[in-house]
């Protein structure tokens, strides 16, 4: 199957499909193009931009699942089905999945701009913690497996190392992470979360570490800078702040 994530030269009649979503470009006059995204034949997104002398390109890449249906939360909760029970002082690596969205960018030498983002899966939200001090999270259910099992263009693979340093058994029902800290890696159209591990400390508190490196050899980080995504949502969503970069303490339980 032809790879869909990547960069495209802007031209009249460009058309790319992801399940029921169809992206098209149409030249309306001179250097001006109209971008359309159709869902089940109905146009759901429309943007006009211009590209003088082909100086910009269109790029389509997976992005963190924080744009759709609106920018409500920057946290992801992955509910494990079934839960993982870890004996004291043990560790194990499992494959999980996390949701992704698809971002459409215009890219140039100077900067990038997110034209659109969409999700092929049904987004659902949940609360982690209490209403007075919790976090709204994008909810995702994931099964545990020893091999990769993802829905293409909807999910990314997480190769999570679970580590229990506590003297007690630990049952992990959910994993919560700050999507702003998440980096995605690509192998063709297969998407992976950066190297990550969940540690149950001696105090029975779970901490998630995102290690800012590829989970496997030979993967490439999604090339459109994360900054583009941040610019897209800046001013709309305020960070509530999870503290230390790359580390999330699951203070409301696991």
């Amino acid at each position: 199957m032809k790879k869909k994530f990547g960069q495209y030269t802007i031209k009249d009649g460009l058309s790319i499909s992801f399940k029921d979503e169809q992206i098209t470009l149409e030249n309306i006059s001179g250097d001006s193009y109209i971008y359309r995204r159709k869902h089940m034949g109905k146009t759901t997104s429309k943007t006009i931009f211009s590209s003088k002398k082909g100086e910009i390109k269109i790029a389509i890449y997976p992005v963190r699942p924080i744009q759709m249906p609106r920018q409500l939360a920057h946290n992801i909760m992955i509910k494990l089905d079934p839960p993982v029970a870890l004996p004291p002082n043990s560790h194990i690596i499992h494959h999980l999945t996390m949701p992704i969205e698809i971002g459409v960018f215009t890219i140039s030498k100077k900067n990038n701009y997110m034209v659109d983002a969409f999700s092929l899966s049904f987004p659902k939200y949940t609360l982690y913690g209490q209403p007075n001090m919790g976090y709204i999270c994008r909810l995702h259910y994931s099964s545990i497996s020893s091999e990769e099992k993802t829905m293409q263009y909807e999910e990314a693979t997480i190769m999570m190392k679970f580590q229990n340093k506590s003297p007690n058994w630990a049952t992990i029902n959910k994993i919560v992470m700050d999507a702003y800290e998440v980096d995605l890696y690509l192998d063709g159209d297969a998407v992976y979360l950066e190297d990550s591990n969940l540690v149950i400390g001696e105090d029975d508190v779970a901490s998630l570490f995102l290690n800012n490196k590829s989970p496997l050899r030979g993967l490439k980080e999604v090339p459109v800078a994360a900054e583009t995504v941040k610019k897209f949502r800046r001013g709309i969503l305020e960070r509530t702040g999870f503290g230390v970069t790359g580390k999330f303490i699951m203070e409301h339980g696991y």
């Binding site: 659902k124 939200y125 209403p131 919790g134 909810l139």
Partner: protein, 267 residues
């Protein structure tokens, strides 16, 4: 004779005493500036710029006044008459500016206590006023009401009122009452309502939505529908979900009855 010990003609103090008094006043000014700078660092993090500036000025001028009074007292100047006049003037000013001072103090406490912040949607329950906080000044607070009117409310009134802050917490509950006809299957209706809630991506999965029979009313079996939504979009969800439940019940063939009364006619 040393010039320091020379008595200034017409006055009861020496040149040395005068110089010392001037030093005390200058020291008071310098200390006032130092206190102003220090308080700026401390207060800027806990209150707005306006309130912080006001408190800094009060500290600065208080220190200058205290230093000046101390210096004049050292020179032997009698303040009894001035204090009496000042006291009477203070009482008069106090009465005249009672509400201003009350608003000022409330404004400072609003900055410290922070029951509301700029941008918060709030309701002042006793006054039946609802809107978004635009600006909190030292004497009054500006609110844009939901019908688009700018409202200025004195800080004392705001501070002493019962305030609902609708954005203080991340999630807020939507509560709806839905009535179905007595002839309908309660479990079926309940399942349809729950399906509607689960299919709305903006309704939170946890805390889980709750649907239960709340009342056997005159014309209908009433469900209480309780679901949580992110506070920022509570109103959107509230408006969506009522229509969605109605549509789902219609599609499922569940009747929402009109008020009805059974009339028995005697023979």
């Amino acid at each position: 004779m040393n010039w320091i010990e020379t008595t200034i003609p017409g006055l009861n103090f020496t040149a040395g005493q005068l110089v010392f008094a001037l030093i005390v006043i200058v020291a008071g000014i310098l200390l006032g500036k130092l206190a102003k700078m220090t308080s700026n660092k401390i207060l800027s993090s806990v209150m707005s710029e306006n309130a912080s500036n006001l408190v800094q000025r009060i500290i600065y001028y208080s220190m200058i006044i205290v230093a000046t009074l101390a210096a004049l007292s050292y020179l032997g100047i009698d303040f009894t008459g001035a204090l009496l006049a000042g006291g009477i003037l203070g009482i008069v000013i106090g009465f005249a500016t009672q509400s201003v001072v009350a608003n000022l103090i409330s404004g400072i406490f609003l900055q410290i206590d922070k029951p509301v912040s700029i941008g918060d949607p709030i309701g002042i329950i006793d006054e039946h006023l609802y809107g978004v906080i635009l600006e909190i000044n030292i004497l009054s607070t500006s609110i844009r009401t939901f019908d688009g009117v700018n409202l200025r409310i004195p800080n004392e009134k705001l501070f002493t009122s019962k305030i609902h802050n609708y954005s203080k917490y991340v999630a807020r509950r939507v509560v709806i009452t839905v009535g179905i006809a007595y002839k309908e299957d309660i479990q079926k209706a309940k399942d349809l309502i729950l399906k509607t809630l689960n299919e709305n991506s903006l309704i939170l999965a946890e805390p889980a939505p709750l649907v239960y029979v709340d009342e056997l009313a005159d014309s209908s079996v009433n469900f209480s529908v309780r679901a949580w939504a992110p506070s920022t979009i509570w109103f959107t969800v509230r408006t969506q979900v009522v229509q969605q439940i109605k549509n789902m019940l219609d599609e499922g063939g569940v009747e929402i009855p009109f008020p009805q009364r059974v009339i028995w006619q005697g023979e």
